[in-house]
Amino acid sequence: MLALHGGESMSRLVVKNLTKIFSLGFFSKRRIEAVKNVSFEVKEKEIVSLVGESGSGKTTTAKMILRLLPPTSGEIYFEGKDIWKDIKDRESLVEFRRKVHAVFQDPFASYNPFYPVERTLWQAISLLENKPSNKKEALELIKESLFRVGIDPKDVLGKYPHQISGGQKQRIMIARCWILRPLLIVADEPTSMIDASSRGGIIKLLEELREEQGTSIIFITHDLGLAYYVSDNIFVMKNGEIVERGHPDKVVLEPTHEYTKLLVGSIPKLYRKLEDL
């Protein structure tokens, strides 16, 4: 068992020496090390970001944390339990699903086009430990959650996914979080497919969730600007490894690793010009 106390506040998630190797080919096996010996920790109420380009292994890491993809080696402890070894029966898996929630990049793919959008919210209610006693109460809970994320229930209830905007879809995914009250949210590029003018709203909603419910959040993103703005801690990934980690101000303003320097140097800034154009 792992010590739960990491400094002053409790650890919510501990990732230790996580490695994922994909083998390709039938006879001559080619091995791809997607994630190499990655270790990090997420505390209660903490927002961290895994930053990297496509192919850096950040989404593979996220999938292992979400218990969607088994690691080749290494451990993931959530609330002190090894999620790949200590979760054995359906009951504890449902409990894990209740406590760890994913918000994905493509809000369009998260909904079944044949069902009204609130179906995902009804599904969330069926996951609850203390389910509302009747349908009316459940509907009240759904409406309340929609109000929380700034949607008038009238605008979305009974509608199908193609009838609402991408921003609304992403908000409904966050409304799910308000119903389930998860301890950890893994958000994989949650704002990349939404217009810039509504991106701020989504980020604020996730921050509110953290403030009011103490939720920990892992952002998986290629957007260093987003990571710099929201996180308490940044982990920069490259070729499956964490090459730089620390407070956003340190990582962005005084990067030490060559890759981070290149990344920070290439990102266009709003308030200053790149020098060598």
Partner: protein
């Protein structure tokens, strides 16, 4: 004083469908000077790609030029593009005076046709010696950072960023005065984005192209190279100003909202915070009355619902279409 290269007067271009018209470009007037980079910024669906089609008269049904004029300076004289047909403009000016890098430039080349074939085709259609143009193409390839021998290769052998540069090399081979780049950086990673910006600026410095219109939704990118910026909203220009003054003090409430939603890794951004604009952009079949931004605007007044604010110069070089800055509001 710089000469005017392209001038648009009250241009309206609608997508004319059976029963309705989508008013994607609705009454735009602006001018592009020689030796200038203009950034056109707006969200998806604001009409910025339609604007690029209008500029080089690429009118393919249902897109129709409803009203307005477009002039291009060719050999010191203004030619009215809007009075010609698409074919005429294509034959006379495309490639030679005006060229475009389309949104999906990296996929613009047929993967199984060697790149030199495009150059040969270009030479044939413009009546230029093929070998001479090929030699020029090889040099141009070198200038955009590609091996000149690669011109004999197939596009599928190159990476996305390289293909895009190959398209730029071929598109600019006849030294057109105006280059339109439509979202050229959006499919590239940040390192390749920077390479692309460098290539564009180098072409302008060398005089291969005189002016560049850079269409994008990414303000931080366009800010790196643009001299002036056009901010579009729902088919209209809401603000048109030099980049530095725009960044220092955006005037239109939409511009302010847009700038405050930009997240770049800079301490200023953390200090400023992030805001979002409530609501969603309007439907361009039936846009709101008066100012098209009024349903989302935090400063909306009565006049905004009734009358459309004209794009007005309120300081030298700064134009904005907002009743907040106009004295006579009646």
């Amino acid at each position: 004083m710089k000469e005017i290269l392209l001038k648009a007067e009250n241009v309206r271009a609608y997508y004319k469908l059976e029963k309705v018209s989508v008013k994607a470009v609705d009454g735009l007037s602006f001018e592009i000077l020689e030796d200038e980079v203009i950034g056109v910024v707006g969200e998806s669906g604001c009409g910025k790609t339609t604007l690029s089609n209008v500029i080089f008269m690429n009118m393919v049904k249902p897109l129709t030029l409803v009203d307005g004029k477009i002039f291009l300076r060719v050999n010191g004289e203004f030619v009215e593009l809007s009075s010609m047909t698409r074919d005429e403009v294509k034959r006379k000016f495309w490639g030679k005076e005006i060229t475009i890098i389309p949104q999906a430039a990296m996929n613009a080349l047929m993967p199984t046709i060697r790149m030199e074939k495009y150059v040969r085709h270009l030479a044939e259609s413009h009546g230029i010696d093929e070998e001479e143009l090929l030699e020029k193409a090889r040099r141009r390839f070198e200038e955009v950072g590609l091996d000149p021998l690669w011109i004999k290769r197939y596009p599928f052998e190159l990476s996305g960023g390289m293909r895009q540069r190959a398209v730029i090399a071929i598109a600019t081979i006849l030294n057109p005065s105006l280059l339109i780049a439509d979202e050229p950086t959006s499919a590239l990673d940040v390192v390749n984005q920077k390479v692309l910006l460098k290539v564009l600026m180098q072409m302008k410095r060398q005089g291969i192209v005189k002016s560049i219109i850079f269409i994008t939704h990414d303000i931080a990118t366009v800010r790196q190279i643009a001299d002036r910026m056009i901010i579009m909203y729902a088919g209209k220009i809401v603000e048109f100003a030099p980049v530095e003054s725009l960044l220092e003090k955006p005037l239109h409430p939409y511009t302010q909202g847009l700038f405050n939603s930009v997240l770049t890794p800079e301490p200023e951004v953390k200090k400023r915070g992030i805001t979002s604009i409530p609501g969603a952009p309007p439907n361009l079949i039936n846009p709101p009355s008066g100012c098209r931004f009024h349903p989302r605007c935090p400063h909306a007044m009565d006049v905004c619902k009734e009358k459309e604010p004209p794009l007005t110069e309120i300081e030298p070089g700064r134009r904005v279409a907002c009743w907040l800055y106009m004295e006579e509001r009646a």
